[in-house]
Amino acid sequence: MIVGERKTFEQIWDSVKGFKSLLVLGCGTCVAVCQSGGEKEVGLLASELRMKSRMDGLEIKIGEATIERQCDREFFDSIKDKAKEYDAILSMACGAGVQFTSEVLEPIRVYPALNTRFIGVTEAEGNWAERCRACGNCIVGDYGGICPMTICAKGLVNGPCGGSKNGKCEAGQEKDCAWVLIYNRLKRQNRLDNLRAPAATKDYSKQTHPGRYINEVYLKPKMEDKSAQ
């Protein structure tokens, strides 16, 4: 999932305090799972905003809504009319959702309530960890299912640096050295030989931004529709 972390209340308040009406818009997918931008978090943030506006003697109409996904156009249908009643939207989605909301609901102004952190997993309750850098060229099969591009702080693909100590990373003792993890798993799988050959040089040409992925299978029917008309 995409893991997001809510901005501080002060940061959020500074960005929206000038509006007369504000819709707090949650996203029901990734950020709901990582408990930063789903329906429950929308309720909490809206309550905080109402309290603060009352304390500051401001009259701000604060509404709440959550859609299934802010990265998919179809889910906006249910809130399009409601959104028009507000001066601004505070999106609790990831960066993609915030931008798509701005595009779909233009000209309403949209502000982010989260900082998008990474693509990750739930390691424990309230504890999410990065697992993928979206490099566009997945190599984890060669490394026992552990991504050296992501889990190694330096993204090294040919083995550890000299900074690994007690199986932990130079970047901090709370972080495991990716290479020790990779070594131990490949050893358990009896395939340490995987690590002996030099790795292919990283190809960053696959990481040009903004990325786009087009699936021809879904494009074709549209073209056929046009020719039929």
């Binding site: 330096k154 900074g163 130079e170 070594y183 030099p198």
Partner: protein, 294 residues
């Protein structure tokens, strides 16, 4: 015609001595010139560190060029932290035309450990792929296979940590050392050694590669320094007996130099040379070398 004096020193079979100088933050090169003059007749070559500990300083390449002018054989340290493959290759070509013949390829510490922690870490290449690139430049090709008009002739080295603390770390160091040799490393410098027995075991394991190894040594200045390194620096393990000795010593400088010289004497029969990382004690390196009888 480029001709590395360091390479000649290894080929002569002598016990090679190198040291290390870290450029300072700023443009004052007075101390570097003093160190160079003091060590010129004492060491075979001097490493110039590349933004050591991720602290922004005067560049390694410029200092290597200055060393040449002062009659010192420089070793150009090059890390993958701050430069992508275009800049790394270009800096190597620049080093070559400035007469720098030796280089050491390193990964580089993370920016978070230095004085510009907000910097973007690059690591486009790693030490292994950088060594392949150097071999390519020596053969007249850039890493995309494009022909160079005028090739380099670097004597390239690498680093290895012989004191890795777990089976996984140790085996990975050896595997990476093999990859570095295959990629073109012609000599190795090690992380600081304090345990001759462990180092001897390491050397027995790697002697089959027939690549010269310079044992790294760092003179101890205090018990606090030893404890700090044991706690924070990967691969360093200063034995308690050494910590006690420097702790009890009245003249800590004298004792630090003596201990370092004794260690070098013990390591001398095991490897092809020693790399003295004095960390602020560069001007004391001649005393260490004399005390070690080199």
């Amino acid at each position: 015609m480029p001709n590395s004096k360091l390479k000649q020193a290894f080929e002569s079979g002598k016990f090679v001595v190198t040291a290390e100088a870290g450029p300072l933050k700023g443009t004052d090169i007075t101390e570097l010139e003093e160190i160079s003059n003091l060590l010129k007749s004492k060491v075979d070559a001097l490493n110039v560190t590349d933004q050591q500990s991720s602290v922004m300083r005067l560049g390694s390449l410029a200092v290597c060029h200055l060393l040449k002018g002062w009659g010192m054989e420089p070793i150009f340290q090059l890390t993958c932290r701050d430069r992508n493959r275009i800049a790394l290759q270009s800096d190597l070509l620049s080093a070559s035309v400035l007469g720098v013949e030796n280089c050491v390829a390193l990964t580089g510490d993370l920016p978070s450990s230095g004085d510009h922690p907000q910097a973007k870490p690059v690591y486009d290449l790693d030490s292994v792929s950088l060594l392949s690139v150097i071999s390519g430049l020596n053969a007249g090709k850039d890493m995309m296979g494009n022909e160079l008009k005028g090739k380099t002739d670097f004597f390239a080295g690498a680093v290895v940590n012989p004191g890795a603390d777990t089976e996984a770390s140790y085996e990975l160091q050896i595997m990476k050392m093999e990859k570095k040799i295959a990629a073109g490393a012609r000599f190795f410098q090690t992380q600081a050694v304090y345990d001759p027995e462990a180092f001897s075991r390491f050397m027995k394991r790697v002697e089959q590669y027939r690549v010269p190894v310079l044992a790294g040594v760092i003179p101890l200045k205090s018990a606090g320094m030893a404890k700090f390194m044991n706690k924070s620096v990967a691969g360093i393990c200063v034995p308690q007996t050494m910590i006690d000795r420097i702790s009890k010593a009245e003249d800590k400088t004298r004792t630090g130099i003596e201990m370092c010289a004794e260690l070098i004497k013990q390591l001398k029969g095991m490897c092809q040379g020693v790399h003295i990382m004095a960390i602020g004690w560069e001007k004391k390196v001649p005393e260490i070398i004399d005390a070690a009888g080199l």
